[in-house]
């Protein structure tokens, strides 16, 4: 028994150290990469991209399900984006509320027979509408399918541009976000097949007429802690992974893809819970199998602001769903693991996700349990245990503060001193009890998936209107 506890404690120690070292390495890579990115941006201007005839058209696809509260604001925001050739497709995914009526009233929709060719699977379409106010806006009204992926597929079938940008209807894009996300594609259109943008927390900020007016840190601590999580995930994690062309996820709230490629992989998988990660994984598989020379990039400055859960229950559901989604992607793609054919994706990125993302809650729970047992059996040096905890805490805080630093030296959206002080203070407080709760939610997600519960579930949102 003691021997077993020893092995468990040892494993936990090395596991924890490895996780933090991996993140530290990512932090260093990310700081270096974003500094380089900023210096590169200094040598050209976005307006030049806007003026060149080479800038390709983009279709924005926005799925909307029961979004009556925010749909007007959201679409107005999209129509005001700064981009030369734009088409906006709103997919009304069988909304039971007045989403379609709101769109009809605001944008004077009329029925059209636009080209809709079902190249990728989606639920039947009831009608297509074009706006008389702005002809760039097309609304696809389809039967409910219960998944965002299905709605995106309907949008893909109606899209006419070589690139599609998937944007959540409850998100707000900064005015130049499309120009910024197109930078890697404009630089290397043959190799770059998809680009992810950064998602930031909208809660607490001020919006007027669909535009973000003032960025503020949310007041509720549960929301503010998520700000740190998002900074860590995007400014450190994705930045670093993308540097090695190993990005395995492009957020469903804001991502740009080559249309033909998304169609070639069959569009989004309607039954997938983590549909955003799933489509990227299938793109990697498809391109690796074809031995294509490609890149999936991340750009840290085109910003998409989105609402995050503001109560524990919604947050718990969201995190459980993310964990389900992760398992739902990793398990079907397990054949890619350690296969040279899939290159660094199979040999590094996917094993990392299995070990440090999927198994993390299991490892932590088992680890904590064995530590408690070991302590109660006297097989644990309290002094050393305490030191180990202090070290773990201080190390993890370095990573969190590092993500705040990254935000400070690069994008600096929180201009108020008080916001920064609060943000930094949450870096110290997020480790208890938020971290433990998070672990439990993720375990719940795994358990739900294994039990066969593959539903998306409902999230409680306030809507963009509340932020105005």
């Amino acid at each position: 028994m003691i021997r077993l506890l020893e092995i468990s404690n040892q494993a936990l120690f090395w596991y924890y150290l490895a996780t933090n070292l991996a993140y530290l390495a990512m932090l260093i890579i990310a700081l270096k990469t974003s500094a380089r990115h900023h210096r590169r941006l200094e040598s050209h201007r976005l307006s030049w991209f806007k003026d060149t005839p080479m800038t390709p058209p983009i279709t924005i696809i926005t799925p909307a399900h029961n979004e009556e509260a925010s749909i007007r604001v959201a679409i107005r925001n999209l129509l005001e984006l700064d981009y030369p050739q734009l088409e906006i497709i709103v997919v009304n995914d069988g909304s039971l509320d007045r989403t379609l009526e709101e769109l009809r009233d605001e944008f004077r929709l009329r029925v059209v027979r636009a080209v809709y060719i079902a190249e990728v699977k989606s639920a039947p379409v009831r009608g297509l509408y074009r706006s008389d106010v702005d002809s760039r806006l097309l609304v696809v009204d389809k039967e409910a399918s219960g998944s965002k992926a299905d709605a995106v597929n309907a949008g893909l079938n109606a899209a006419t541009s070589p690139y599609v940008c998937i944007v959540d209807s409850d998100s707000v894009l900064e005015r130049d976000a499309l120009l910024r996300i197109m930078v890697p594609i404009l630089e290397d259109p043959k190799r770059v097949v998809a680009v992810g943008g950064i998602i930031r927390v909208l809660n607490g900020s001020e919006i007027k007429n669909g535009q973000l007016r003032r960025v503020r840190l949310p007041r509720k601590s549960i929301e503010a802690i998520q700000v740190i999580e998002y900074l860590r995930a995007f400014l450190i994690g994705r930045e670093a992974w993308a540097q090695g062309n190993m990005l395995t996820i492009i957020s469903g709230a804001f991502g740009l893809f080559r249309t033909d490629l998304v169609r070639a992989v069959g569009g989004y998988r309607a039954r997938s819970i983590g549909e955003d990660m799933d489509v990227v994984a299938r793109m990697h598989r498809h391109l690796r199998e074809k031995k294509a020379d490609y890149e999936i990039r991340f750009v840290p400055d085109p910003m998409c602001w989105t609402e995050v859960p503001s109560d524990l229950r919604s947050l718990a559901r969201q995190r459980a769903r993310w964990q389900k989604g992760l398992l739902g992607v990793l398990w079907p793609n397990r054949d890619m693991l350690f296969r040279p054919r899939y290159g660094r994706i199979g040999c590094f990125a996917l094993p990392y996700l299995w070990l440090f993302e999927l198994f993390a809650p299991i490892m932590e729970v088992v680890g904590i349990a064995t530590i408690i047992v070991a302590a109660s059996l006297g097989a644990l040096s309290r002094e050393f245990f305490l030191q180990f905890m202090i070290f773990g805490y201080a190390f993890a805080t370095v990573i969190s503060i590092g993500s705040v630093l990254q935000e400070e030296v690069t994008y600096k959206r929180y201009n108020d001193w008080k916001d920064v002080v609060r943000l930094v203070s949450y870096c110290f407080f997020e480790h208890f009890p938020y971290r433990q709760l998070h672990m439990i939610w993720r375990l719940q997600g795994l358990w739900q998936y294994l039990r066969g519960d593959h539903e998306w579930g409902q999230l409680k949102r306030k809507g963009l209107v509340s932020a105005q």
């Binding site: 030049w48 080479m54 080209v115 809709y116 040096s381 050393f384 201080a394 805080t397 590092g402 930094v424």
Partner: protein, 404 residues
């Protein structure tokens, strides 16, 4: 029995853990200090900058005309950077007269010389910044320094030089870029090169012709694309030679360029390219032939309407909609195609252009019989093809069988 941590302790890691704790706490402290000190510094910096910008803006005319002595701001790096940034921003929106005034000021104040020096002597991102700033001045004397940087071993420097040359938008810059790609081939991503060439060759597109003929591989494609963008009617005969080029990119560029030419010269070539084996060549040709708005193009556009490629169909439909005087016959011919996708594309284009009512009124005023009218209206209402008449169906089937 000792715990695992005691064992680790005996092995030495205890010292490591202790050091690690200290290091982590120090790192936390340093990061925090850096964040807050940087914030305080930036706050002061921006306040000072704002104050200086305001002061200099008040004296802008005197500053530009030289009435305000250059020495008053040139010696201070802080002020010099502000003045340069303001002048370069002013260039972006300036007309010819104002540009000339700004250029004169930048020459007289020595800012251009300074940038040329920096573009030649500095390294890393400072050099990149100098190169782009030099290009933004649009000063011809900056071109040699920019051209020199094109031969740098670092791709980022080459890209910055290319951007700078692009901003000058002058034929001398185009000559330098073309000479460089002739020497070293394609050593930068295609798009920055294309953009720079488009900007620099707009004035004299004929500069490109010898290079397009000589270039090989991907470089030839890039040149072709640039030519497609900047071509003018004066290049007419020269462009015809690319219609039969083996490279599809070049044929597409020729198709794109043809749309700038007069109808008499472009029509036959575009009709030929509209039947090309490569979809994007057909796409370019269909767009080009649509721009001509020549009724002779209708059969080609109808063929494009039943193309295997979706984008070609959409563009053909958009082009067909431009024939507003003959909407009814075109609509009838679209139906005769018996292509569901083609019909959808055409109806979409009609709807998008807001011409549905016009089509209906033309149908009412045309000389077609009642049965035909019903048939057309039914297609317009339902968006579906009418049932095929047996004789027609048989003929169509025979035609399909005898086809290639």
């Amino acid at each position: 029995m000792g715990s695992v941590f005691e064992k680790l302790w005996r092995l030495g890691p205890a010292v490591f853990v202790f050091k690690a704790i200290i290091a982590a706490i120090v790192a936390d402290g340093l990061l925090l200090a850096f964040i807050f000190i940087r914030r305080a510094y930036r706050k002061r910096f921006f306040a000072k900058r704002d104050k200086h910008v305001f002061e200099l803006r008040q004296q802008w005319d005197a500053l530009i005309s030289g009435r305000l002595s250059y020495d008053r701001w040139r010696e201070k790096a802080f002020d010099r950077r502000i003045v340069e940034a303001m002048a370069l921003d002013a260039f972006e929106a300036a007309g010819p007269a104002e540009s000339a005034r700004l250029l004169k000021f930048m020459r007289a104040s020595g800012l251009i010389e300074k940038r040329i020096f920096e573009a030649q002597r500095l390294t890393g991102w400072r050099r990149m910044r100098a190169l782009v700033a030099l290009g933004r001045t649009r000063a011809p004397e900056g071109v040699p320094a920019l051209a020199e940087a094109l031969r740098d071993r670092h791709v980022e420097i080459r890209l910055a030089a290319l951007r700078g040359l692009g901003r000058t938008a002058c034929p001398q810059a185009a000559e330098e870029i073309l000479a460089w790609v002739g020497e070293s081939g394609l050593t930068v991503p295609a798009l920055p090169l294309q953009s720079a060439l488009i900007q620099c060759c707009a004035e004299r597109p004929q500069l490109l012709l010898p290079f397009v003929k000589q270039a090989e591989g991907p470089l030839r494609e890039i040149m072709g694309r640039v030519l497609g963008e900047v071509a003018t009617p004066a290049l007419g005969m020269e462009l015809l030679q690319f219609v039969g080029d083996e490279r599809e990119e070049l044929r597409a560029a020729a198709a794109r360029a043809m749309s700038h030419l007069d109808t008499a010269m472009a029509f036959d070539a575009l009709s030929e390219l509209a039947e090309d084996r490569t979809w994007f060549v057909r796409l370019r040709a269909i767009i080009g032939i649509g721009n001509l708005v020549d009724p002779r193009a209708i059969p080609t556009l109808l063929k494009g309407l039943s193309d295997s490629n979706r984008l070609v169909r959409l563009r053909a439909a958009e082009a067909l909609v431009h024939f507003r005087a003959v909407m009814v016959p075109v609509f009838q011919q679209v139906i005769e195609l018996r292509d569901r996708y083609g019909l959808h594309a055409y109806l979409t284009a009609i709807e998008n252009a807001g011409l549905r009512e016009r089509l209906e009124s033309q149908m009412q005023s045309s000389q077609i019989d009642a049965e035909e009218m019903r048939r057309l209206q039914s297609v317009l209402q339902t968006g579906s093809l009418p049932p095929e008449e047996p004789e027609l169906a048989e003929t169509a089937a025979n035609q399909r069988e005898s086809g290639p």
